[in-house]
Structure formats: C-alpha cells, structure tokens
C-alpha cells in the first residue's frame, strides 16, 4: 500500500484533534503545553505533506519557522509555568482565574 496525501492528512488531523482536546480538558499546565506542541507538529506534518505533493519548498520553510516559534513558545510557556507554580504551589490551570470579570 502506498502512503498518499490522504494518509498524512488523517494522521495530522488525528494529532491535531488529540492536541486540541488535550488543551481543552487537561488541567495540568505541563500537559497543556505538551498538547500545544502536538498541535504545532500536526500542522508541521500537514505543511510538509503538501510541500511534497505540490513540489513547493515554501511549506517546508514554513515548518522550520513553526519549529523555531515552537521553541520560543515552549521557553515562554515553561517560564510562565515556573512563575505560576511559585505563586500558587500548584500546576492546576483552574487556579489561574484572577482575570475573571
């Protein structure tokens, strides 16, 4: 069986959905960060798959950008996590509700 674009897209879709559900339902700061990474990588997979299919390198270049941004995002996210933990002694995002209207 040859692996077609559709397969890539299905995997990418599943990865993205898992990541998105993770962001929505998990309560742990770190898990949410990991879920975001999952979503980003799902997008990368999509970009690269289309880049192959269309023989256009732009998609691959973009995925490099995404990886770079993801690194920055992880750094900021972890810094936030640490500072949050220092203040609240917990990683539960339910506790982060001081912006409530």
């Amino acid at each position: 069986m040859t692996i077609t674009l559709n397969h890539y897209m299905i995997v990418s879709f599943l990865l993205f959905s898992i990541g998105f559900m993770g962001v929505l339902v998990r309560r742990n700061f770190l898990t949410i960060l990991m879920s975001v990474e999952l979503m980003l990588n799902a997008v990368n997979l999509n970009l690269i798959a289309f880049s192959r299919r269309l023989s256009d390198l732009t998609g691959q270049v973009f995925s490099i950008f995404v990886i770079t941004i993801a690194a920055g995002e992880a750094a900021i996210g972890l810094a936030l996590t640490i500072s949050f933990f220092r203040q609240r002694r917990t990683l539960d995002v339910e506790e982060a509700n001081t912006m409530q209207g």
């Binding site: 962001v23 929505l24 949410i32 995002v93 339910e94 982060a96 509700n97 409530q100 209207g101």
Partner: protein, 730 residues
C-alpha cells in the same frame, strides 16, 4: 568619515552590551535582596542623599554605602560610547559639509537587504508608484537627519556626563548606563533610518528604553505604574503610526523616504485623495510619542524616572521624534490641508492646555513636564501651518534650554536631598549659584526674552502662524496666533513662578534640609554651563529679517520637496509687521514675568491664594489637571464592561435624574397624581434603564471567566461553525 555612518548607532549598542553584561554578571551572585534598596521617600526622585543626609553625596567616598562594582568601567563605557558616537556624528556631518546639505546633498548607506518581498505584483491603480516591494536596512543622513543627529548626540553626551555625577550612588548604576546607551542606539536608528520601517524600529526602541528608564526605580509602585502607563499610551499612538506605514506601503509599494516622497511630489493628483487619512494616521503616532492631547497623559507621569532621563528622553530627544516624523513627511502633509488643520489645532490646544496646568503644579519636575508638553504643542502648531523648518528650529533650541532646565532641576533636587516640592524651597540662589545662573538663563530663554535662543524660534513660529492661510477656515490662523501669543505669556509666568519659588525669597524647608544644601559636583555643573551657553547662542542660526539670517531655514529647505502643481507662496516678509509681532511677543512675555515676580517674590504668594479662593472651581480643575486622568481611569481603565455599567448608572443618577427633580421643582405643590407619576413612571424609567444595563453587564461579565480553556473551547466551537457554514453553503 561619512563612510563610518554605520558606526554611529553601533557604538552605543556595543556600550549597551558591555554595560548590560557586566552589570548582570556582577549582580547575579549577590542575590535579589541586595538589589536597589537605596530609595528615598515616595514621590521623590530616589536619591541616596535622602537616606544619608549627613554624607555629602559629591565626595565620592561614601562610607555608608557599598562600593558599586565596576563603576569605573560603566562610566568609561557609558560616557565613552556617547562621546565616540558624538564625534563620529560631527565627523560625518562636517565631512559631507553644511553647504552641501543646504544644496540638498544626502548620504545613504544600505547595510543589507532586510525584507526581500519579491512580490513584483502590479501596483494598485496608482500611476507613478515605486513598487519595488522590498525593505533595506538603510542609514541616510540629509539636512534634517544631520540637524537631529548633531543635537541628539551632543545633548546625549552631556547628559551621560551629568548622569555619571547624578547617579553616582545608585546601586543600579550599570543598569542605568546600559539603558541610556540602548536609548542612544535606538534614537540614532530613528534619526538615521532611511525608510519608514527603520524609523519605526527606532521609534519602538526609544519607547522601550523610555519604559525601562521611567520604571528604573521599579521597586516603587508609582514608578513601575508610570512606566506601564507610558508604554500603553504609546501603543495607542503606535497603532495609528503602523497603520500609516501600511498605508504608505500599499500606496507606493516602497517605504524608502526618498523614493516615496519623490513619487508623491511628482504625481500629487493621484495621491491627494488618500493623503488626509494617511496623514491623520501618522499624526496619531506623532501624538502618542510627542505627548499631544489627548495622548499627553503619560509624559507628566514619566517624571518618576531619574532626572537625567527626564532631560534626555522626555524633553530633549525622544518626545521630539513625533515632530521629526511630521517634518520628514512634510510632502504628505502639504498635500492634505485638512490634516494640517487638525495638526495645527491639536498643537495649539495642547500648548494652551498644558501651559494652564503648568501654572499650578508644585513639583519642580511636573512644571517642566507640562512645559515640555506645551512647547511640543508649539512645534506641532508650526508644522500644522506648514512651517516645518521653524518647528524643527524650535525642536533644536528646545533641546538645549529644556535639557538645561531639567538638569538644573536635577541639581536642585540633588542639593535638597531628594525634595521636589517647590513650596519647600526658596532662596536657593545664593547657596547653589552655578545651578541658579544656568537655570536663570534657561528660564529667560524659554520665556522668550529678546536675543536668546527661544525668542528667535518662537518668534519664527508665531510669525508663520500669523501669515498662515487655511482655505477651509480662513479665520483660524488669527485665532491660533492669539492662542500662541497667550501661551507665550503663560509660559513666561509659570517659568518665573518656578524660578521665584525655587531660588528667590526665603527658604521654606526644614532647618535640616537647609544645613546641607550644597552645590553639585563639576560633572553636573559643567554640562549645565555648556547647555546654558547653547541656550543663549543657538538662536542665532535662525535670525529673521536680516539677509541670510535664517540659516537653519535654508539648511532644512531641501527636505521641502516641491510638489508638482501645488503653488505655495514663500514667506512674505514685511519689516514693520515682523517687528510689531516681535514687540507683541516681548510685551506679553514681560507681563508674564512681571506678574510672576510681583505675585510670588514680592507678594509671597498672597495674590494667587486670594484668586484661588475667589474661583475655587477653576482652581480645583487646574490643580487636578482638569481631571483628565480620572476621566481616562473611569472610561478606559475600569473597562467598558463592569465599569461602563457603573459609569452609565452614575450618569443616570446625576444627569437624567435632573429631569424628574426639575419637573418636581416646577410643579411644586402640584397634585398627588403628578407625584405618583414621578415616583413610579419617570423614576421607574430612569432606574429601569440603569437596572437593565446593570443586569445586562451582570450577564455579559460571566463570559469573562478568566479561564483560558473556556476561551479556547469557544474559539474552537466558533471555528468549527465557520468552517461548517463555509463547507455547506459555499
């Protein structure tokens, strides 16, 4: 030398890196507790002299404090990089030659291609657009940049020297010089940038440094808050500015100053329809950075930073960036007469408004801050009537005399051990003579005393306003002239009030304060003297009437590209009218000076006190700065959700309730039916409106759960719906 243009901003950047790294490394081992604990009382410039009043702060051998690590290195790198930048700037400008600039020469240097867009698409519908679709890192010096370059680096260098004395006992000495060097870098990028994006990078860079330096005493809440306020208010302006840059890019397909302005000037018919909007967007940016109404509120608060910062950033250089930008874009503005009217009116209004607030302030730095806002209004008024060169002339003289005033104020604060309230000063003239004389000269200058610098620059602006012509509102220039003249009188009044209360009369502080008033060290007084000298002589580059007297006007003329088909008349000079305008200015200034002297020195403040009693409402409004901050707090800061509901409720309670109350008064003694009607129908309506709004907001605020996951869920759901609708109904 001209090929070293790239080195001018680079040197302060290197200074910033060295100072920053050394500071970080030398402070990481000490721990946070050692930080910056040498503040004085709230509300004053945190100054070590206040916490150690028995120790003369200018000896440099202060046994009560820890030695500042690497202080010598920080001084050499910080002041040295400013000096090198200054020398390079003078070298580059004089290598090209002032005469060449006057004839329109410019020198560009493209360092590298920054954003190669390579779109190559057809440019809109506008003929004559540039359409090169790339942005380079370009440094360019033409006459306007050269002028800015010279005074920014020179005043910057002097203030670096001054800071080495003024900040000498601060724990964060290295941090301060790192920020100051970073500021010089950003300001030089702003001035030398050859396209809108470079200008914007510098613009944001100086904004960042402004934020960092206002919040320099970050452990104090008011300083940290002031920094944030400056940053947020500037964001509002920058929003307009960046939209303006987008508009330029969309219209011309390029951001390069030379190309864009040449294209606009060559083909005005195609571009004029867009110019009003474009200019207003750019002007919003200028309003934020240059503290014009209604975005001026951050500048008075910015005085929470150290005084040299107030002098350099919030008086001499950064806040004039808006004027520089408007003068730079003069081709656009001249094509948009309606935008020009807005600029002129906002400028004149700000000048008057800030001057009236300055009349009643009691903090020495706040008076100067409102004075700065007022003078910036003057500059925009000049730009608004098309007198861009006169505006830039005032920018230059203002840089000298306002820096001198601020540094003098810093020296006074230093002498008073951190005291900033002028009600507790007085009679300082004999105790700190060098500070007094320099401050006195600068005060004379800003008041418009004849043959000092600001006399010429203000006179040039007023003459230009008087001769201006607005097609849409022909009577406007005369009104603006009256406002400018009146403001000049107010300026003379509040500056001499400041001088009287600070230096003349009897000392009103405590005996302890009096005992240790002392002159500042040479590192502070020498820059003061240089600046005082410049605020005497710098006006002679723009003498009116005399043939070739207006050197600065001729120097800057090349930036006024002639616009095809636009007939602009030159300055029509009539000797007698010119002299009459001058005489009016001198008369108004003299009245202001005399009143201030007779009220505050001779009368020891009795007349103002009586006036305040007579008109308590006016007095309260002015001393509270017209409640603008409070209004902003209420409308914007408290938010339009909950705060908005309460605000409307109060409007209901105070304004709309007047209707039933008034009705009740008119129909006093009327029938019982009417009162029932009042009680249940009218009040019911009033309270019903308020209640409905309150109820609505009670529902809407539920949406603000503060939980990011809820927001993510709603976003995901919305996206799903959009995609679903798109797929089903496309």
């Amino acid at each position: 030398m001209r090929n070293l243009l790239w080195a001018i901003p680079l040197v302060p950047l290197i200074g910033f890196l060295i100072n920053g790294v050394v500071y970080l490394l030398s402070h990481r081992t000490k721990g946070a507790a050692h930080g910056h604990g040498h503040g004085s009382g709230a509300g004053s410039d945190a100054h070590t002299a206040a916490t150690a009043p028995d120790v003369s702060p200018d000896t440099g051998h202060d046994p009560g404090h820890h030695d500042i690590p690497f202080k010598g290195l920080h001084t050499i790198v910080g002041v040295g990089s400013a000096l090198i930048a200054c020398l390079l700037a003078f070298g580059a400008v004089f290598d090209i030659g002032l005469k060449a600039f006057t004839e329109g020469a410019s020198h560009s240097m493209t360092l590298w291609r920054w954003i190669p867009l390579g779109i190559n698409q057809a440019v809109g519908q506008i003929p004559g657009a540039v359409g090169d679709w790339y942005v380079d890192v370009t440094l360019r010096v033409d006459s306007l940049s050269a002028l800015m370059l010279l005074f920014v680096t020179f005043v910057g260098f002097l203030i670096h020297v001054y800071s080495s004395g003024y900040m000498g006992h601060e724990e964060g000495y290295g941090r301060f010089f790192a920020y100051l060097n970073l500021f010089m870098f950003a300001m030089l990028v702003l001035v030398l940038g050859g396209n809108f994006l470079m200008l914007f990078v510098g613009w944001e860079g100086v904004g960042l440094c402004s934020y960092l330096l206002i919040g320099y005493y970050y452990e104090k809440k008011f300083a940290a808050d002031a920094g944030k306020k400056a940053f947020v208010v500037n964001r509002i302006g920058d929003f307009g500015f960046i939209l303006g840059i987008f508009a330029v890019f969309a219209l011309f397909g390029s951001l390069d100053f030379q190309k864009v302005f040449a294209a606009a000037a060559a083909n005005p018919a195609a571009y004029t329809p867009y110019m009003t909007v474009l200019c207003l967007l750019l002007f919003v940016g200028a309003c934020g950075k240059s503290a014009q109404f209604p975005l001026y509120v951050w500048l008075p608060d910015a005085m929470a930073g150290p005084t040299p910062v107030s002098a350099l950033i919030h008086a001499a250089t950064m806040v004039t960036a808006g004027v520089y930008m408007v003068a730079r874009c003069n081709v656009f503005f001249r094509m948009a007469p309606h935008a020009m009217i807005v600029v002129a009116v906002v400028g004149a209004f700000t000048a008057l408004f800030a001057a009236t607030i300055g009349l009643m302030q009691n903090d020495i730095k706040k008076v100067l801050a409102y004075s700065t806002v007022s003078q910036l209004g003057y500059m925009f008024l000049a730009c608004g009537v098309g007198a861009f060169t006169e505006g830039m002339f005032h920018v230059t003289t203002h840089a000298f005399f306002k820096a001198c005033l601020f540094l003098g104020a810093g020296s006074v604060i230093h002498a008073m051990g951190g005291e900033q309230d002028i009600r507790r000063m007085g009679g300082l003239a004999k105790k700190i003579p060098r500070t007094y004389w320099t401050f006195f000269i600068a005060t004379l200058t800003i008041s418009g005393v004849p043959f000092l610098a600001a006399f010429f620059s203000k006179d040039a602006i007023k003459a230009a306003v008087f001769h201006a012509e607005f097609e849409a509102v022909p009577w406007l220039p005369k009104v603006l002239y009256a406002v400018a003249l009146f403001t000049a009188g107010l300026t003379a009044f509040y500056m001499f009030r400041l001088l009287s209360l600070t230096f003349w009369g009897k000392f009103r502080g405590t005996a302890e304060q009096e005992s240790h008033v002392h002159e500042s060290p040479a590192s502070m007084t020498v820059p003061l003297m240089v600046l005082a000298f410049l605020s005497i002589v710098s006006g002679y580059v723009g003498v009116p009437i005399i043939e070739h007297g207006d050197r600065i006007g001729e120097f800057l003329r090349p930036i006024r590209l002639p616009i095809a088909g636009l007939n602009e008349k030159g300055p029509h000079e009539s000797l007698s009218l010119e002299l009459a305008l001058m005489a009016a200015a001198v008369a108004v200034a003299s009245i202001g000076i005399y009143l201030a002297w007779s009220w505050y020195t001779k009368g020891e403040g009795r007349t103002p006190a009586r006036l305040a009693e007579q008109w308590p409402g006016v007095y309260r409004a002015v001393t509270n700065k017209y409640f603008v901050d409070e209004a902003y707090d209420k409308v914007f800061v408290n938010g339009l959700a909950l705060g908005g509901g309460r605000f409307l409720w109060e409007v209901d309670a105070t304004v709309i309730d007047l209707i039933p109350n008034g009705a009740a008064a008119v129909t006093k003694g009327a029938s019982w039916v009417a009162s029932i009607f009042d009680q249940y129908v009218v009040d019911g309506l009033v309270n019903g409106v308020a209640g409905t709004l309150q109820g609505l907001f009670r529902v809407f605020r539920r949406a603000q759960t503060g939980r990011v996951q809820n927001y993510a869920l709603v976003m995901g759901g919305g996206l799903f719906c959009l995609v679903a609708v798109y797929l089903l109904f496309r």
